[in-house]
């Protein structure tokens, strides 16, 4: 029982990272039916931007709140700009032509981001400052929870809550949901569809970058390759929840995180990916619309 709770805490922490990346997949898919395979690599880029600030530029020596806020906000903005660039130069010329062509381009963008970071930062592993946040923790009954875990899950939940409020309560958010259903009808409302697509790309990139910085803080070590697997797991989470569905992406993220933690705990870390991708295949075969998915045309 004790071990189970420990794994659950780990699973929820990691799951919150997956949920953030999965939300990026789902928002973009909801609007333009594109699986933006660069999503995981955007997270990796965010992590490296955060590392640059904290370590290279010495932000880690600033007062902790300032350091943490800067290490989140600046990479989120930077990654958003990068994702807008990808949209503008790589996807937009293909948007009204072939979805397959964009999909392949998205894979290309994933490679481009990886190799750009490889070129700029080298192939070696970089390390986040290990003592950025207090390394101690507290006990909930017999279970030890670190402050880092608490803080990261709290920030994740905050971001998710913010996203849900934005999508549900603002007019731009309402327009995003309308676009998920009918682009031409949205145009006839006076909605600038291209601008809303840009908003989706900005939001997706910001969530990915935040998860990247969190991964850096949590795992300490980052390398240019980590976005690929992260992206695949988050994609699995998005599909599990029902791609295009926002609550689905969040639930899927946490479920995949838990699944991974239990697999590592009870079986072996080597089986993590086997189990996660077995789930992906299982969902695609048994219920391709995912846990929360309904009709394809009406999701988000």
């Amino acid at each position: 029982m004790h071990a189970f709770l420990e794994y659950t805490i780990t699973g929820l922490t990691v799951g919150s990272f997956y949920a953030l990346v999965a939300l990026g997949y789902t928002i973009v898919y909801g609007i333009i039916r594109l699986i933006n395979f660069a999503q995981g690599d955007l997270s990796m880029v965010g992590a490296f931007l955060g590392w640059t600030l904290l370590v290279s530029l010495g932000f880690e020596h600033l007062p902790i709140y300032l350091a943490v806020v800067a290490a989140f906000v600046i990479p989120m903005l930077g990654t958003a700009v990068i994702n807008l660039g990808i949209l503008q130069f790589a996807y937009k010329p293909l948007l009204r032509r072939s979805l397959l062509a964009i999909l392949i381009t998205a894979l290309g963008m994933s490679l481009l981001l990886q190799n750009t970071v490889l070129l700029l930062y080298g192939p070696s592993i970089d390390a986040y400052p290990p003592n950025l946040l207090p390394t101690t923790g507290f006990y909930v009954g017999p279970v030890h929870v670190t402050y880092v875990q608490t803080a990261l899950v709290a920030v994740s939940l905050l971001l998710m809550g913010g996203l849900v409020l934005f999508v549900q309560r603002t007019t731009i958010g309402t327009a995003m949901r309308a676009l998920a259903q009918d682009h031409d009808a949205a145009r006839l409302m006076g909605i600038n569809v291209d601008a809303i697509i840009r908003v989706a790309f900005v939001l997706g990139a910001m969530l990915a970058a935040a998860s990247g910085v969190m991964l850096g803080i949590y795992y300490i070590q980052i390398q240019f390759t980590f976005g690929f697997l992260l992206g695949l797991r988050a994609f699995t989470a998005a599909v599990l929840g029902g791609i295009g569905n926002i609550p689905g992406a969040m639930a899927g993220g946490f479920l995949i995180g838990l699944l991974e933690a239990y697999t590592t705990g009870y079986i072996s870390g080597k089986w993590e990916d086997v189990v996660v991708f077995a789930v992906l295949i299982g969902v695609l075969v048994v219920k391709p619309t995912g846990l929360f998915g309904e009709r394809v045309a009406e999701r988000m």
Binding site: T171, L188, M189
Partner: protein, 244 residues
């Protein structure tokens, strides 16, 4: 010069010429009915004016300025709104959210949105009762009211309606068209595409008949209603069958 002037519009779908030189006008306070059979080019005409389709040649001018080539959302912002064929309301949004999006171009003016919503609710009290309901759960008639109300939220100078009575009972379609007349009476220019020629001509000021991409007849609604060719093709269907 008319408020909206369409001149010699040619539109292609690939190599197929859907509009072969359409010209028509819309004037404030007047309803222009556009009649014609399936595939004649009525919807294509509206979609081109709205900016969803690009004409290969021809001009569309609104308040004396050309709007050809402008993005659809810009055209809405200028004051041309369309109720598309099949209503195309947002099923997954509530009635109120649908209306809010109708006022998207004035979204930062909350008081304006509120006032216009109140106007729409006055016009269609049923929508007020169902404001928090998902639009997909409305009946066909209510969805049509919502589609019209949504288009009115931008307070258009030109309102285009594509088959607003489609799928409605005769009573409902008469009441919808009566509302369209009221909207026109307030000074809006209306372009009304209808299959139900009899009802359309009854409320329209002027009308034209489109066949295979060209305007074949144009004139006063009352005159057209008496025109032999119109009666034969669009009004006299039942009698023709009965006597034949």
């Amino acid at each position: 010069m008319a408020l909206l002037e369409v001149r010699d519009l040619h539109v292609f779908y690939g190599n197929i010429e859907a509009l072969k030189g359409i010209s028509l006008d819309a004037e404030p306070g007047q309803i222009m009915a556009i009649l014609g059979g399936n595939g004649a080019g009525k919807s294509t005409t509206l979609r081109t004016i709205s900016g969803l389709l690009r004409p290969r040649s021809g001009t569309i001018s609104f308040e004396g300025r050309s709007i050809v080539g402008l993005e659809a959302h810009v055209i809405v912002g200028m004051g041309l709104s369309q109720v598309p064929e099949g209503r195309r309301i947002f099923n997954i949004l509530t009635v109120e959210e649908n209306l809010n999006l109708g006022g998207y171009i004035v979204r930062s003016h909350r008081d304006l949105i509120r006032a216009r919503k109140a106007e729409v609710f006055k016009l269609f009290p049923r929508l007020a009762e169902r404001r928090a309901q998902l639009a997909g759960t409305l009946s066909g008639g209510e969805q049509q009211m919502l589609a019209i109300g949504r288009a009115l939220m931008s307070e258009p100078k030109v309102l285009m309606l594509d088959e607003p009575s489609l799928g409605l009972s005769p009573i409902l379609s008469r009441s919808v068209l009566k509302t369209v007349r009221e909207v026109a009476n307030r000074g809006t220019a209306v372009l009304l595409v209808e299959q139900n020629a009899r009802q359309a001509l009854a409320i329209a000021d002027r009308a034209c008949v489109i066949e295979t991409g060209s305007v074949v007849l144009e004139g006063d609604a009352a005159t057209l209603a008496k025109d032999e060719r119109v009666q034969k093709a669009y009004l006299g269907g039942f009698e023709a069958v009965a006597s034949g």
